[in-house]
Symmetry: C2
Subunit: 122 residues, 2 copies
């Protein structure tokens, strides 16, 4: 063993934990709330139905029924998912009579989405 024992500590009952590396990363680790928010944002984009909705809204402002017809799910399911997206501030809507027109609330989302597409489409 070449390394000094000081560099290794025992947590989780396993040796060979490199303390320096861990501290280096800990120093730049984002605060927990940031991580939670980030994970939530990704999670919301991580359902095919919502992914389709976001994609559609990135092209056109659409009403609930248009979205439902477009992606082929019930109007109720659409509304439920739109609420999730609304709560995360990813979409907004304006009302015109009975009809609610939804659109993207944030341009970051478009970028995030495009970056994701680039990853998937290579």
């Amino acid at each position: 063993m070449k390394r000094k024992l000081k560099d290794k500590i025992s947590i989780c009952e396993v040796f060979y934990v490199n303390k320096e590396k861990i501290n280096a990363v800990k120093k730049v680790m984002k605060p927990n709330e940031t991580i939670i928010s980030l994970a939530q944002t990704f999670k919301v984009l991580g359902d095919p139905t919502r992914t389709k909705i976001i994609f559609a809204l990135s092209k056109e402002e659409l009403c609930v029924c248009d979205i439902a017809a477009l992606i082929g799910i019930s109007q109720s399911a659409t509304s439920h998912q739109l609420r999730v997206l609304r709560n995360m501030k990813l979409v907004k809507y304006r009302k015109e009579g009975k009809i609610a027109y939804y659109s993207l609330d944030d341009n970051h989302i478009r970028n995030l989405f495009d970056e994701g597409l680039r990853h998937v489409e290579e």
Copy 2:
């Protein structure tokens, strides 16, 4: 009613579906497999534990036990999540004796991650 009835059709038993808009979006809609892959990628990033792992690995190559110690979860849970990330080709590893050193497999992920952070941190 000013618009011609032709533009409105009845799907899901609701009127006021705008056929033109739907067709316009349908034309540019990504194929289902693309949507599924995209959603899967986002979903994998959408769990706080995995988010932390990805963040850590974006800074340092780390072994399983380092990761576990760093984010404060069990080695088993870490290993399970690393498998998820491995399956999605988001991380790779090299073995040095008993130790498995993990790192990011793909730079797109770093960009995706940074774009997400920008959205969250404003």
